[in-house]
Symmetry: C3
Amino acid sequence: MKSQLVAESAGQRTFVVVLDPGEEAFAQLTAFAVDHGVGSASLTALGAFETATVGWFDPGEKTYRKIPVREQCEVLSAIGDVAIGDDGRPSLHVHAVLGLSDGTTRGGHLLDGIVRPTLEVTLVETPGHLRRRHRPELGVALIDLEA
Amino acid sequence: MKSQLVAESAGQRTFVVVLDPGEEAFAQLTAFAVDHGVGSASLTALGAFETATVGWFDPGEKTYRKIPVREQCEVLSAIGDVAIGDDGRPSLHVHAVLGLSDGTTRGGHLLDGIVRPTLEVTLVETPGHLRRRHRPELGVALIDLEA
Amino acid sequence: MKSQLVAESAGQRTFVVVLDPGEEAFAQLTAFAVDHGVGSASLTALGAFETATVGWFDPGEKTYRKIPVREQCEVLSAIGDVAIGDDGRPSLHVHAVLGLSDGTTRGGHLLDGIVRPTLEVTLVETPGHLRRRHRPELGVALIDLEA
């Protein structure tokens, strides 16, 4: 993973983050947010994975159903945000659409993805921080703008 | 719906908007744009819907063919913009990709979507306003940069 | 193609670019980047194509497998970036998800797309420039933040 601060203005910082082959995207981007003290951000990304796991949230079971994608796939879109979780650390939320070799797609809440050959991420940090709070009655952590 | 102004710089305002369970996303985001006098913006969003309707534009019929998605689905991506319509009010244009429980996807022009449990929207407003003009020969309203 | 500079702040410029029916999106957006001297940018877009070609990168063959989409399709998402290529000119990298008339989707690395009726692009240029270098061992050009 390499990163560059490409713009800074009025407390808003824009980073380009480029992941290397073999890196796991979710862990790496979380580490980036922790290392740079990112408390509020949105991101978009494109690239490709050699394998990934996405999730579909089952409101009845209050958990993510895992959907493995065990083949080389284009990361057609990854859209996400960063907020501060209940543990006081940056918490990532990313959804991804993956393109298979026949052009069909799979997608879900990004659980993990192994980069091959690249993932190009634009992350725009905004000043201050957002909070993400676990909601036991729903089974997920949601951004809480009143926190 | 709750919102927070997370950055402001040189007339450009960034809002995070979080929708609540049961809210209809297209109407709520339009209301947000109206209430905040947004005349030009782009947005990205992620979250989930319990049900939604997307559309495919049929150029022959000059109308949207409705595609109902009557099941819990991840909002894998929502990308959109805001301009001022012929009626002088903010007009939203949003396309969405939705992820089903088996990881396959559906998508189209967003007509409506009922949030469950959240929709997290980052909206970047730019100064001035854009115009969206109905084009009767095409059957749609398009951004007109010469207006 | 028409464009408008909608925001400028601390060397960061935001453009809205609107493509016209019949224009080929990849060539037009590359021309836009060349004409405006864009050396580093990220973009999102929505609209529709009457026909398109996307690609899936085959790591074994080190080339893109072409996937033609020969029907009217919504551009559900297009996410991309701009960097300076080995030839010293702006180089675009865009991934697209396309929505067919039945709501299913196709997607890949955008090779070409003929606009019908519009493509609405928000492009955020950041100061300085990024470099994209061809990597013969991989068969693709990747952003090189150490260049």
